[in-house]
């Protein structure tokens, strides 16, 4: 079905080694589900782009070798012809939709092929029934949660029924529940005998679906494993390859804050529309100088929760009680610092050093350099923040938070799309911050990360919160899973 012969590829100029591929020879037979994995920058996304034709037709670079899908040479075929045989689901649900309403979006691929209207409607309805998504139809893309968007994205690809499905880190922004839905969709395609190519960091949800694992190391195929081989891999072996765990729930370390001094937040209420409350929490307690992880389903308003806590949400009248003193919304803004999911939003200046300086009460160059050194950023002090990698940008944002001497640091999904090594880096930074006496609240879906930072866990529901020490949480999840599972499998 897919054949890559002597493929070399490099983005842009010669020195750019990130995402480059060297000497790739590969054949994927029809009906196989293949997982491409490896550290960030190993070239797994590049492979997906070679198969769907975005390289060389959209992303430029130096390409040699031959890529054939279904007998067609991708390099010499127009993208709209490739689109009929290869369908792609991308990582970022924000930027893969062309329309604003969901139904038009699902029909979009077929409309582009110029298929008759009656046929399109028939196939759209078929997909909608197949994936049980009637409730998502005729809605605005902007009001869907990350998980729902990714479901629509899968449905869009599915209606055109291509022979090859390409998925580029589709689970980066998904919670455990949404990942299960994604798992079911992929299972469906597999049952239909489609060829599936997945580039992914999070292995657990697809581990039992795949027929073959290809492990890439700096642009080369380092291992090509059949089930007999990869199913034997232990977690430690995966970690030593820089890969994430293949187990879903693994929170086991008991951690409970001793001698707790709490920061209390009161009246966290928020609703986008009148009468429809998204958040309605009367009281929540966060242990001071500790790391607390907030978990909950996609679309519960976890990001809104963070915005309410740090006082960014004007409509939300949250009060913070710290050391017995009541702090109002506007003052909260001076106590907290939110590191956003997309850190690009919070870096403004021309150099990393400036970024730290403007956050200080009194600009103090020496102190700024100290902070940068602490986060291994000193060598980048003169660089433009935009030129840094994702993880480095995140550290710059943390540096500005330290510089502004805020005590409460909030993180929104700091590890989404990170491989094992980078996830550990983030967790090391968290430990450093904790040692400095900061209180950390992190919203995350990443159970492996929670384990690594040994956080207290709070589960968020629309109108209640549930506090767990980690061990209790695991038991709770175990019995929940048993109850829920049968109903969720399509």
């Amino acid at each position: 079905m897919i054949r890559l012969e002597n493929v070399h590829f490099q983005y842009g100029d010669e020195n750019e080694n990130n995402g480059a591929l060297h000497d790739i020879n590969l054949e994927i037979p029809s009906g196989q589900a293949v997982l491409f994995c490896g550290e960030s920058g190993c070239g797994k996304t590049t492979i997906t782009r070679l198969i769907n034709g975005l390289i060389p037709h959209f992303y430029e670079g130096r390409l040699t070798g031959k890529i054939r899908v279904d007998g067609q040479e991708i390099q010499s075929q127009e993208l709209y012809d490739t689109a009929k045989i290869v369908g792609t689901v991308f990582q970022n649900p924000r930027s893969q939709f062309f329309n604003v309403d969901t139904r038009s979006e699902v029909a979009f691929g077929l409309e582009n092929q110029g298929i008759r209207e009656a046929e399109i409607l028939k196939r759209v309805n078929q997909t909608v029934t197949e994936f049980q998504m009637e409730s998502l139809m005729d809605r605005s893309i902007f009001e869907l949660s990350g998980g729902e968007k990714q479901k629509i994205a899968c449905a869009c690809v599915s209606t055109s029924s291509p022979e090859v499905f390409v998925l580029d880190e589709p689970s980066a922004n998904l919670d455990v529940h949404s990942m299960k839905l994604l798992h079911n969709m992929i299972l469906r395609w597999k049952q239909q005998g489609k060829t599936i190519v997945i580039a992914e960091h999070r292995l657990a949800y697809i581990w039992n679906l795949i027929d073959r694992v290809i492990f890439l190391e700096s642009g080369k195929i380092a291992k090509d494993m059949q089930p007999a081989e990869f199913l034997k891999l232990s977690e430690t072996e995966l970690h030593s390859m820089g890969l994430r765990s293949n187990n879903e729930q693994k929170i086991s370390k008991m951690h409970k804050a001793t001698d707790i001094k709490n920061i209390e937040f009161k009246d966290i209420t928020f609703g986008y529309k009148k009468g429809k409350q998204i958040l309605d929490i009367s009281k929540i307690q966060i242990p001071e100088h500790e790391i607390t992880a907030i978990i909950g389903h996609n679309g519960l308003g976890k990001s809104t929760f963070l915005r309410c806590i740090c006082g960014l949400e004007k409509k939300c009248k949250t009060r913070m009680i710290k050391n017995g003193a009541m702090i109002k919304r506007k003052k909260c803004l001076a106590e907290c610092f939110l590191v956003m999911q997309d850190v690009n939003h919070q870096l403004f200046t021309e150099s990393v050093l400036d970024e730290v300086l403007i956050s200080m009460e009194q600009e103090d160059k020496e102190k700024a350099q100290e902070i940068l050194a602490e986060l291994d950023l000193l060598e980048y002090a003169g660089r433009h923040p935009i030129s840094l990698s994702g993880g480095q940008k995140q550290r710059v944002a943390v540096a500005t938070a330290i510089a502004s001497e805020r005590d409460i640091l909030l993180f929104d999904e700091p590890t989404s799309g990170l491989d094992y090594k980078h996830m550990l880096q983030v967790s090391a930074i968290f430990q450093k911050l904790k040692a400095k006496g900061k209180t950390i609240i992190v919203v995350t879906h990443d159970m492996e990360f929670i384990e690594a930072i040994s956080a207290n866990i709070i589960e968020l529901n629309t109108n209640s919160v549930k506090n767990y020490a980690q061990k209790e949480f695991r038991e709770e999840v175990d019995c929940n899973e048993k109850e829920k599972l049968p109903a969720e499998v399509i």
């Binding site: 939709f97 309403d101 399109i120 960014l312 690009n344």
Partner: protein
Amino acid sequence: MEVLSSRKQRRGIGLDPRTTIVLLLMVAVFVLGGAGGNELIWARIILACVPVVLLLTSNNKLKCIVFVLVYLLGYFLQFYVLGHLTGILNSLMLATAGMITSFLPGLMMGYYAVSTTTVSEFVAAMERIHMPEQVIIPLSVMFRFFPTVVEEAGSINDAMRMRGIAMGGKHPGKMLEYRLIPIMTCSVKIGEELSAASLTRGLGAPVKRTNICKIGFGLWDILFLGLSICIVIYWVLILIGVRV
């Protein structure tokens, strides 16, 4: 925040997007542009009422009432208060009232147009009038892109408030730069991903695109189009100097 609506169901009297565009042009030319001068005052009044009628029938009653009240206020200022003022106050008032009375109907019409048309309806309408694809695709991408940029700008604004960079705060001179740079970085990235995604779904194929949304002229469309044609004919007659 959306630029075009996401609801498929026609609300109110459900005009065809083409009619809406014609009406938008009419309001712009005659009410805002003041074409036809004093002879067409009647047409201007009728056209100023069109968006009111449309909004009233489309579940936007509250916004409609607010619009009308503001409009009447502008009118009142222009005709009753203006005469009693002198000097700078007079010119200020003239500017405000003039802006309100001439811009507001156009704004209302525009609001009606974008809040009741979906992207695919817009594309369908453009295809029906044989607009070339090179115009339609960029326009529809723009409609998709704007709300995203607004969303991004909102997040950036939050980040700035959190960092204490605000008007009257530190570095006021650099406000614009600080705001624009992240917007541009994010927009470029999103724009690129958006194009890549639509290309992998076959946009731009040299076949005639199907469009599954139904548009077409109804009784109301004919009525409004008829009215527009009458006004234009009358205007042309005035222009070529025929006395009616």
